[in-house]
């Protein structure tokens, strides 16, 4: 009988090939690095490209299987459904555990191949590649031998269940996981270089130079991933919020905090050659936390709405986590003496001092979030008692730390390196604190009385003044020198100093987002109201009128909802359609809220009970109505953050040589 080559076989073969090639690449990479053999190293790099080709083939095969409804492939049979629209079939690739690991493995091999392609040759490069491939080996092994998404089913089912209904409800499903994985995998590169630095005993600035852009990109993707996750929750989950301190959210937040700390302290190493050991520690911690978070999410250890269903993967990730801990921290312990440097602090009131203090604050916040997330587990292990740690705890503990960071963010960029000069510092602070007081008093008289929003407004103003002082500090001297007028100098500065200006833009975006968070959490209005059909109901400054019920049928879902007309000052504003979706594969209905976005506040409607358009007895609808002031500022801030980060990644333009205007006579 002829061997029947199906997509499943092709996919499995590609993954196994990738696995084998990775072993070869690691082997030749290690030997090539130890013997300084250039041809072996080149061979290892080519192997990296080949691995990427193999995993790309596997991903393409899986996509083809999903799009052609090939239910002989195990993952497709378990997760996909004929009735799903095309975009959902594509997103099904990462909708369940097995596929998400395939995606992660593919991205890991992609980053390794990219590194092999663009990284400058140095003593570090071969080792960095080896470490990347070590991580890649683990993910490929799990995909190839543990979860086996490409397993061929001898008797394929006629149809599958389709992905989890919560994941079919919104297009963000297509974007958020990709951003998160790009972030996580991107932050593996600095880790690989740090390990290479330890292995080759070159712990100086050498390892950080090639790593700067990778770190910034990985950090940016992770930040965007988190924020898009928040927006997705807002649009899908029905309670009008974007962050719930859920264990999975927390676990992916903590490595982002350490990565942010690293992003800043890396500058200190670049400029002052200080904090070398600290930076290696931060990068290692970030990677260890990433592996920890992905382990805890996929192992069923913590209960969370995000957690993947428990599977056989848990013990494997546990083992990998232990391995990462022992290898990376063990290596660091071994080389610690060679990594430590003479720390020379001229003054605590300096850029270095501010960045170091900021680092401590970021790590403190990370510690507190991690403690709260793991505390129920710790308590149960130690005493058998059951306790829950939720949003009230996290809010209470992180807000003070965040406010301190917010304050530091304003003064830090203004401080010079080494030592701040008293007079300038005092003058700057006077302006900034003055701005804070003015804004605070203004806000108070306008009705903002709650502590956290009021403080946020004041510190936001303080930060804006700080940004203004930064800009004027650059522009004014040049105006005085007669180099042009303010606008053109500013534009020139922004054009030529991309990293600096990009960071200013990102800090500005943080201010915007902070105001959005303060407004939406401090002044949220949240009620559940009864809406008799045909009668106007007042909510705040709006009047809402349910005009009728509707039902929409698609092959994969049935939607039933209410049509609500929104009036403001008796003027018709918009129509909102909150609905409840019932997907083919699940008896559990999923509500989809309807949102009116405006610059100053959102109006958010979510059905609190199911509606039946065919039932003549249904005379009223129960809707949860939420008004969140300034919440749109969070999403606007995210866009600004993306632009700022992208801009900072661009290389500075080449300076044209200036023409000599006069001869200098000796």
């Amino acid at each position: 009988m002829m061997f029947d080559l199906s997509l499943g076989h092709l996919g499995m073969a590609s993954i196994l090939l990738a696995f084998a090639l990775t072993i070869y690449a690691m082997g030749s990479g290690i030997v090539g690095a130890l013997k300084q053999d250039a041809s072996l190293q080149t061979s290892a790099r080519f192997a990296a490209f080949a691995v990427f080709l193999a995993t790309t083939t596997a991903v393409v095969v899986m996509l083809v299987a999903l799009l052609t409804d090939d239910f002989s492939v195990q993952y497709v049979a378990e997760t996909s459904s004929r009735a799903s629209p095309t975009w959902i079939k594509v997103a099904t690739l990462w909708a369940a555990l097995d596929g998400s690991l395939l995606l992660w493995a593919w991205m890991q091999t992609g980053y390794t191949a990219l590194l092999a392609l663009v990284a400058l040759n140095s003593a570090l490069r071969p080792w960095a590649l080896v470490v990347m491939q070590g991580v890649q080996l683990f993910f490929l092994a799990v995909v190839a031998f543990v979860v086996t998404p490409f397993q061929v089913l001898p008797i394929p089912p006629l149809d599958g269940p389709g992905p989890n209904p919560l994941l079919q409800n919104h297009w963000m499903m297509a974007l958020h996981p990709i951003l998160m994985y790009l972030g996580f995998v991107g932050l593996t590169v600095p880790f690989a270089y740090a390990m290479a630095a330890l292995i080759t005993r070159r712990p100086g600035t050498e390892w950080m130079q090639p790593v700067r852009l990778w770190t910034l990109a990985g950090w940016g993707f992770l930040a965007l991933g988190k924020i898009t996750g928040g927006w997705w929750s807002y649009e899908v989950l029905g309670w009008g919020g974007y962050w719930s301190w859920d264990p999975v959210e927390n676990l992916s937040f903590v490595p982002w905090l350490t990565a942010t700390a690293f992003l800043h302290s890396a500058q200190v190493q670049e400029r002052r050659r200080m904090l070398k050991a600290w930076n290696i520690l931060l990068v290692t911690l970030t990677f260890a936390l990433t592996i920890l978070s992905t382990f805890l999410i996929r192992s069923g250890v913590l209960s969370s709405v995000h957690a993947f269903a428990e599977g056989p993967v848990g013990p494997w990730f546990f083992g990998f986590f232990i391995l990462v801990m022992l290898f990376s921290f063990g290596l660091l312990a071994l080389r610690w003496d060679q990594v430590r440097d003479r720390s020379e602090f001229d003054s605590a009131v300096s850029r270095e001092g501010a960045i170091l203090s900021g680092n401590v604050l970021f790590l403190a916040m990370g510690f507190v979030v991690l403690l709260g997330t793991l505390f129920p587990l710790i308590v149960e292990a130690v005493s058998g008692q059951l306790v829950t740690v939720g949003a009230p705890f996290f809010d209470r503990v992180t807000v003070p730390i965040w406010l301190l960071i917010f304050i530091l963010m304003g003064i830090g960029p203004l401080l010079p390196w080494r030592r701040a000069e008293g007079q300038t510092l005092a003058r700057n602070l006077a302006w900034m604190v003055g701005g804070a007081l003015v804004a605070g008093v203004l806000a108070y008289t306008l009705g903002i009385r709650r502590t956290y929003p009021l403080l946020t407004v004041a510190i936001a103003a303080y930060n804006l003044v700080s940004l203004g002082l930064l800009i004027s500090g650059v522009v004014r001297p040049r105006v005085r020198q007669g180099l042009g007028h303010a606008a053109s100098i500013f534009t020139r500065y922004a054009y030529e100093n991309r990293r600096r200006f990009g960071s200013m833009v990102v800090h500005f975006s943080v201010v915007v987002m902070a105001l959005g968070v303060a407004g939406s959490s401090g002044y949220r209005v949240d009620q559940q109201l009864n809406f008799p059909i045909g009668e106007r109901v007042t909510f705040g400054q709006y009047e809402l009128l349910v005009t009728g019920l509707f039902e929409e049928r698609r092959p994969y879902k049935v939607s039933r909802g209410a049509t609500v007309e929104v009036f403001h000052d008796d003027q018709f504003v918009t129509t909102l359609t909150p609905r409840i979706n019932l997907f083919g594969n699940s008896p559990q209905p999923v509500s989809t809220p309807s949102v009116r976005y405006t610059f100053w506040s959102d109006l958010y409607l979510n059905l609190a009970a199911s509606v039946d358009p065919h039932d003549p007895a249904q005379q009223s609808v129960i809707i949860r109505v939420v008004q969140s002031p300034l919440i749109a500022w969070i999403w606007i801030g995210a866009v600004i953050l993306a632009l700022g980060t992208g801009y900072a990644l661009l290389p500075n333009p080449r300076r044209e040589p200036m023409a000599v205007r006069e001869r200098v006579t000796t």
Binding site: W239, E344, F345, A348, V360, Q528
Partner: protein, 144 residues
């Protein structure tokens, strides 16, 4: 349900004729309670039946004049400490409140020590041996 609506009208304090089934405070208190049958959701935001019942209970108790503390205690009696999202401050739970403070103080102290040491090292003259000084002098003499 309709009965509740009639009861609620005066006590919400918005002064307008609205059929408010669940007041804002219900959600504020609900956000401090864990939904007992859900994996990790609050009573305020969960769509499950039991959460809906609990929200109704909270509304009734608010109307009856109970305070937030009394309502939280009501559920704590029935479901245990576990239902509170803010761990009670006693026994082993104190750790989660105490540790951040302790670690914060520790971190602050370590930071100060580190900076102080750095300042001392910056101020201290470099430690150079007399051999090395002689080598520098010899090299300078050579250059003339």
């Amino acid at each position: 349900m309709k009965l509740l609506v009639l009861i609620l009208l005066g006590l919400v304090g918005l002064g307008q004729a609205q059929e408010i089934l669940l007041d804002q405070r219900v959600f504020e208190i609900g956000r401090q309670l864990r939904c007992p049958t859900c994996i990790a959701e609050t009573v305020a935001d969960s769509a499950e039946g039991i959460s809906g019942e609990m929200r109704l209970i909270i509304q009734e108790q608010l109307v009856a004049g109970k305070s937030e503390g009394e309502i939280l205690a009501f559920f704590q009696e029935r479901y245990g400490d576990w239902v509170l999202l803010d761990p009670p401050r006693r026994g082993i739970y104190l750790l989660v409140w105490a540790l951040p403070v302790v670690v914060g103080l520790l971190a602050g102290t370590l930071l100060l020590i580190y900076i102080r040491r750095g300042q001392q090292q910056a101020a201290a003259p470099l430690d150079v041996s007399s051999d090395e000084i002689e080598r520098v002098r010899a090299a300078l003499r050579q250059e003339g």
